[in-house]
């Protein structure tokens, strides 16, 4: 067997279908597949599709035009999503191309930060969090939440003013917002004056 219980022909055809969907935003017809692979009879293609369906790689909406629908979770694993950047664990000597064996995964925001509904991004203005690796111009990924734990880096609004990014801590009855920069002072306020808007869960920087 060629790959994952598919014959070579089935693999080729499945790949063609997926590439066509990526390219044209619609699946090919049986005859279009036949043309691509020089299969003159529609039955020849039909049989391959039956096999692909039986093996769980596609579903066919019976009777509908362009009814082939690949099972995305499976085919994406097989052919890749054509999205994101390959993450490598280390760069080794050799040619200029990346060794595929070395690839750990794909860098993609969707995967890295799921639950996008709760997230927003915030451009950093000052340099008060520089020692936490947060620089001016960085974009923070923030999870919207009204409370946070001590030690979290939070986005907070003080006295209905502009938002600020600081490390949260509590002493006695007061909220402490600590910068990660020795040239800035800790902000100490009564809890009623501080409104937590979210917790920083990621940083994205373009250099």
């Amino acid at each position: 067997m060629y790959r994952k219980n598919l014959t070579e022909r089935q693999y080729e055809i499945l790949e063609f279908i997926c590439r066509r969907i990526d390219k044209d935003s619609r699946p090919p017809t049986i005859r279009e597949i036949g043309r691509e692979f020089s299969i003159s009879s529609t039955k020849g293609v039909f049989d391959h599709l039956d096999a692909l369906e039986k093996k769980g790689w596609i579903t066919k909406s019976s009777g509908e035009a362009r009814g082939i629908q690949p099972i995305r979770e499976k085919t994406e694993e097989l052919f890749g999503k054509e999205e994101g950047l390959p993450i490598v664990g280390s760069v080794v000597a050799g040619g200029p191309t990346l060794a595929v064996e070395n690839v750990e995964g794909l860098l993609e925001l969707d995967e890295m930060f799921p639950n996008q509904e709760e997230l927003f991004a915030l451009r950093v203005d000052g340099d008060s969090m520089i020692e936490a690796g947060i620089h001016k111009g960085d974009i923070l990924v923030v999870r919207q939440q009204p409370t946070a734990d001590v030690g979290d880096i939070v986005v907070a609004v003080i006295n209905d003013d502009k938002g600020t990014v600081k490390k949260l801590s509590r002493v006695d009855e007061e909220v402490h917002l600590k910068p990660a920069n020795p040239y800035y002072d800790t902000i100490v306020r009564d809890p009623s004056e501080v409104e937590i808007r979210g917790r920083v869960v990621g940083v994205v920087r373009k250099m």
Copy 2:
């Protein structure tokens, strides 16, 4: 006129087509559109599609089943891509929801780092670049290139060994790879021993 020279009906139908493509990876048929909008005659829908084509929002592959193809650049602008996180410039007081007026753009890797073919991502191992805001566990976005300028943060391989991330500089005839951490030493080598694999163009961190 409703929006961008479209009538309300045309806008609705165009939106339906785009959402259907996003959802099902294929455009609807004329009759499917008719069903959605309770238009019993295919001609009713057909006329709308003609209007949409004349106004430059879609193309129709004449004679082909599911031949409607929206002009992506235009429709994405109209309906959004449903991808990425909204980037806000500042967080202001008020409700827990984000003010739309405040949104500067969308955070998406494709847009932030185009030319994906030349890019790869590298997981950072040590803490030698901590003062450059590069921490252990961060993922670097690296542009593959065999040379770099002085001052660039580069991924380099020394003596065919494991890759390292340092700031590039040159003194006399030698390559200096400078860490951004006072506890580490600058690596000084002959150019023949250093192979530059790429330049760091971004950082992504999950916290």
